[in-house]
């Protein structure tokens, strides 16, 4: 029973990953000479790492489940 459920979950996960990859392929490719805007500083995921780190630290110390994607740093006595 548990094995069947795990197999079902694995199949769903693979389906999700496949759909995700297909979604990426479905968009028409953007040629390099049209990527000038994507290259801008303000289009980065975290344009200002110091600002992001301090905001995240403040939220992490006040909230039960705060965090972000990426390799986590060490904890602190604040939470």
């Amino acid at each position: 029973m548990a094995w069947s459920r795990r197999r079902h979950m694995r199949r769903n996960l693979l389906l999700l990953i496949a759909l995700t990859l297909l979604a990426g392929c479905a968009t028409s490719p953007v040629p390099p000479w049209e990527r000038g805007r994507l290259a801008r500083w303000d289009m980065r995921w975290d344009p200002d790492p110091l600002k992001a780190a301090m905001a995240e630290h403040a939220h992490f110390s006040k909230e039960g489940t705060a965090g972000t994607i990426g390799a986590a740093g060490g904890g602190c006595g604040c939470n």
């Binding site: 995700t20 990859l21 979604a23 990426g24 392929c25 968009t27 490719p29 953007v30 390099p32 000479w33 049209e34 990527r35 000038g36 805007r37 994507l38 290259a39 801008r40 500083w41 303000d42 289009m43 980065r44 995921w45 344009p47 200002d48 790492p49 110091l50 600002k51 780190a53 301090m54 905001a55 403040a58 939220h59 006040k62 909230e63 039960g64 489940t65 705060a66 965090g67 972000t68 994607i69 990426g70 390799a71 986590a72 740093g73 060490g74 904890g75 602190c76 006595g77 939470n79």
Partner: protein
């Protein structure tokens, strides 16, 4: 060596952008080396709940941040960041039932004074074709808390539109609470945190990119707060939580360039942990470039969480296995507004901003039970960055 013009740098960046979004981000602010400094002042509001006892001065933290980023040859970069914090003020200790069973807050009697120093070093290697691998190490030290963490990450373009990133980290934390014998606290404890993540980023169009990622954290060890107490059947007991916690989070980030000078950032995060807490975070920011190198960045953030299974302001049944009245384990919602102003002077950039964070049970999605300890704060910061070749 003369610095390439912004338009030429953008052309180089666009030329380098044959693979994925990350490759496209060798933008006009890229330089071989950069240093940055910020000074932050964090100030908590007075508690909304009635304070029964303790020092009413709330937490105040002055933080200095340093960043050094440098290229090591053609393929490696080293990023070193350091933080020094000085904390003072009192902290919520426990709750007692007042008239009509309304909770009254008891704050720590003496003003806490402590400082924290932390450093992170990250080495990134570009293996070619924008396949990058990073290793990072962090050390954080306080009088009563030491943490050591190691992390690895890899970013791999799958095709011209998709970039896969994945990695993991491990943190070992050591607690040595102060005044342990005086207050019958645990004298020494440790906890370990293992994390894994994976994400995919898409170039959706010449104006838009999207990232979707999953993060898993698993903690073991002493996860209670050694400084907090809880009223159980009319007597005081130590905050007692399970010694394991697993958490999963799904994060989606979207960046859209509105025109040559403005972009919108939209982030969403859904998380759940094995203590019964669920949360939702929504963030929105507007990056507006103005004349003469000025930039204005207003933003909004909404956060909501429900309570852990073993949270209550106080407990009647002493037979419960776990109990905590830490407000961070209770249900609440928080709304934050922030504003950042930046000004470039050639290779220098001046940076200042503020955040106002307001937390209350009224803002919790679907409502929340009584949580009198929620904290609201104001944070202001200013700093300077310098980029050089």
């Amino acid at each position: 060596m003369s610095r390439p013009s912004p338009s030429l740098s953008l052309l180089f960046a666009a030329s380098a952008a044959l693979l994925g979004h990350k490759a496209a981000q060798a933008d006009e602010t890229s330089a071989a080396h950069s240093v940055g400094y910020r000074f932050n002042v964090y100030d908590e509001d007075a508690l909304s709940a009635q304070v029964e006892e303790g020092d009413p001065r709330r937490y105040h933290v002055d933080t200095q941040q340093f960043l050094f980023d440098t290229a090591l040859g053609n393929r490696n970069t080293l990023n070193v960041s350091a933080v020094h914090e000085v904390m003072s003020g009192s902290s919520p200790w426990y709750l007692v039932p007042g008239p009509d069973n309304k909770p009254l807050e008891v704050l720590s009697g003496a003003t806490i004074r402590d400082h924290r120093s932390a450093m992170t070093a990250t080495l990134t290697h570009d293996a070619g074709g924008n396949d990058t691998r990073s290793v990072s190490a962090t050390y954080s030290a306080e009088r009563d808390y030491h943490a050591t963490a190691l992390g690895v990450e890899r970013s791999l373009p799958l095709n011209s539109a998709l970039t896969l990133a994945f990695g993991g980290s491990f943190s070992h934390d050591l607690l040595r609470p102060t005044d342990a014998l005086l207050y019958h606290r645990i004298e020494r404890a440790q906890k370990n945190t293992a994390s894994m993540f994976g994400s995919l980023s898409w170039v959706l169009s010449k104006n838009a990119v999207l990232e979707s990622g999953l993060q898993f954290n698993y903690q073991t060890g002493y996860l209670s707060d050694p400084y907090k107490l809880v009223v159980v059947d009319s007597s005081l007991d130590a905050d007692t939580r399970p010694d394991r916690r697993s958490e999963a989070a799904w994060l989606v980030r979207y960046r859209y360039a509105l025109n040559a000078d403005a972009s919108v950032h939209a982030d969403a995060r859904v998380a759940a942990n094995s203590w019964g807490q669920h949360s939702l975070t929504l963030e929105l920011a507007w990056y507006q470039g103005l004349r003469d190198g000025w930039q204005l960045i207003p933003g909004l953030r909404y956060y909501t969480q429900d309570s852990a299974r073993f949270y209550a302001p106080f407990f009647d049944d002493a037979n419960e296995r776990y109990f905590s009245s830490d407000y961070r384990l209770g249900g609440f919602g928080a709304l934050a507004a922030n504003l950042n102003v930046r000004k470039r002077f050639g290779r220098w950039e001046l940076n200042a901003g503020a955040e106002r964070y307001h937390a209350t049970t009224d803002l919790a999605l679907g409502g929340a039970d009584l949580n009198p300890g929620t904290v609201s704060y104001t944070r202001i910061y200013a700093g300077l960055d310098f980029h050089f070749d």
